[in-house]
């Protein structure tokens, strides 16, 4: 049995949540939260935490040297740095439009990296 302490980020109150996990890493109990959003945040955070990844990609022939990009949906937290390495290797050609896919299916996650501005 393991315990994990979290601060909930679902709203500004920031409840201190304690999650109990069994030896298989499954959630046994969630305490300290004051609403349902807190519980689902805590479960997600303890089993498979995910984060949006926002960064930039080199552009050739554009108005600026880089264009901002994001992951189309959150990526597993432990893959953030590996994704950065992939993204930093690519260069795209202008013109780029908002929503253009600059890198498909990054690290076989099924998640695309898309442009968030024009270039």
């Amino acid at each position: 049995m393991a315990k994990k302490d979290l601060v909930c980020v679902s709203c500004p109150i920031g409840c201190a949540i304690t999650v109990e996990l069994n030896d298989a890493g499954e959630v046994v109990s969630v305490t300290g939260n004051t609403c349902k959003r807190g519980e689902s945040y805590a479960r997600q955070e303890c089993t498979h935490p995910e984060r949006m990844l926002c960064t930039t990609v080199k552009v050739e022939g554009g108005r600026l040297p880089v264009v901002p990009v994001k992951s189309a949906s959150p990526v597993p937290k432990e893959l953030l740095f590996a994704c950065m390495q992939e993204i930093n290797q690519i260069t795209v050609q202008a013109p780029v439009k908002i929503g253009d896919v600059v890198l498909k299916n990054i690290l076989n996650t099924g998640i695309d990296i898309v442009a968030t501005n024009e270039a």
Partner: protein, 418 residues
């Protein structure tokens, strides 16, 4: 001389929303003047997501949020001049501006919206000992270097101030391979959102040192390190707690100041607490026909609220141009017992819509009652579990309540502790 119904100073989220709203209200000749080379303002460099949850109901990056308004502006007949600097606003609403294409521009406006945004508090505003070595910059400047210009301003970083821009830059620098050694915060609590503390610092094991500040910078040509020290309850450094941290970059995230040089020159009355103009419920300043909205009026946490406020200013400007804006005497608003300020500062007694009073508290409050009173009468009261200085709050007052207020009265927003 050029003639416009409405001139908007600033093409960021505030200026665009005000211009678009006035356009929707049927105002025909509108001009946006923008200093930078594109519309969008500071959102262009805020590449992280979290914008638009309230207004669009989805989570967008800064450029995406701005992009939706830019597209709308260019799909109307609103005129836009970028690379254009406004120099002066006269008593009779003549705007003087300059750019490389038109030279000097003299524009007579029926109404003006001020939407110049805010600036970061710079190093000069803090008393930190040390020389002017390279590598000391505001977090927003660093953000522009990384996200717009595409280069890294340093490899080892200390951040002073735990405002959201500082936290966001801690994550951004870390993702790009820099080592962020610490975020120091003078106050005993962070000024940033909990979400950013968790996802920008804790995720990467970056220490947040509360009640701690930078007392000295070291290095002559390039920053070599900083000395940090803990502070006492009077925010003074405690001797003996100094610690040297080697770093080549110091980023400052120590507050934002509304950019009101133009407003001051025009003689517009400013609120000493917000640093922005004193306004009525439609965000009209002390200067007839001149409105203010967005961060030039009060520093917001969320761009969604900037958009909402600016649409209100757009409606106000349209009413002012048509001569249909409420113009009776006004009641004043003020903050007391923990409430630092209230916007708007005055409300017309013949106002024609519900009014939201926006305010901030001066410290963290838990389990308190938020009250709005007029003399002895309690107009609004609600229990609040938690209120923090980092979160702007509002209460909505109904039109008929406002219309019944006695002449010359004051609405007071205050916190009642148990």
């Amino acid at each position: 001389m050029l003639h416009y119904d409405l001139v908007v100073v600033g093409g960021g989220p505030a200026g665009m929303a005000a211009a678009l709203q006035a356009h929707e209200e049927g105002i025909e000749k509108i001009l946006i003047l923008e200093r930078a080379d594109t519309l969008g303002g500071i959102l262009e460099q805020c590449i992280h997501t979290g914008f638009g949850l309230h207004y669009f109901g989805e989570e967008l990056s800064g450029p995406e949020y701005a992009g939706r308004f830019i597209e709308k502006v260019y799909n109307t007949d609103i005129d836009v001049k970028v690379d254009t600097m406004v120099l002066d606003i006269s008593a009779d609403n003549v705007v003087t501006a300059v750019n490389n294409f038109d030279g000097l521009l003299i524009i007579q406006a029926k109404a003006i919206v001020l939407a110049m945004g805010c600036r970061e508090r710079p190093r000069g505003a803090l008393s930190i000992a040390g020389s002017r070595a390279a590598g000391i910059m505001t977090a927003g400047t660093a953000q522009k270097y990384v996200n717009i210009d595409g280069y890294m301003p340093g490899k080892t970083v200390v951040i002073l101030g735990s405002g959201d821009i500082g936290l966001i830059m801690a994550r951004r620098m870390t993702l790009e391979g820099a080592k962020v050694k610490a975020v120091c915060e003078l106050m005993p609590y962070s000024g940033g959102l909990t979400r950013n503390i968790v996802q920008c610092l804790e995720d990467f094991g970056i220490p947040l040192r509360l009640s701690c500040t930078v007392v000295e910078t070291h290095g002559k040509e390039r920053l070599e390190g900083v000395t940090v020290a803990n502070v006492d309850e009077h925010l003074q450094p405690i001797p003996g707690t100094e610690e040297y941290i080697p770093c080549d970059t110091l980023m400052l995230s120590v507050g934002l100041i509304p950019e009101n040089e133009l407003s001051k020159n025009a003689g517009i009355a400013l609120d000493p607490v917000t640093g922005g103009p004193v306004v009525d419920e439609y965000r009209e300043t002390s200067h007839k026909g001149v409105f203010a909205c967005g961060n030039v009026l009060q520093v917001h946490d969320l761009v969604d609220f900037v958009t909402e406020e600016s649409q209100l200013a757009g409606v106000g400007a349209a009413k002012s141009i048509r001569g249909s804006k409420p113009d009776s005497d006004t009641v004043q608003t003020k903050g007391e017992n923990g409430v630092r300020y209230v916007v708007p500062q005055k409300i017309h007694r013949d106002t024609d819509a519900d009014v939201k009073l926006y305010f901030r508290v001066g410290r963290v409050f838990e389990n308190v009652t938020l009250c709005v009173t007029c003399g002895d009468e309690v107009i609004f009261s609600r229990k609040k579990r938690k209120m923090t200085p980092g979160e702007m709050e509002y209460v909505t007052l109904k039109t008929d309540t406002l219309q019944k207020l006695p002449a010359g009265s004051t609405l007071t927003v205050h916190i009642k502790e148990a």
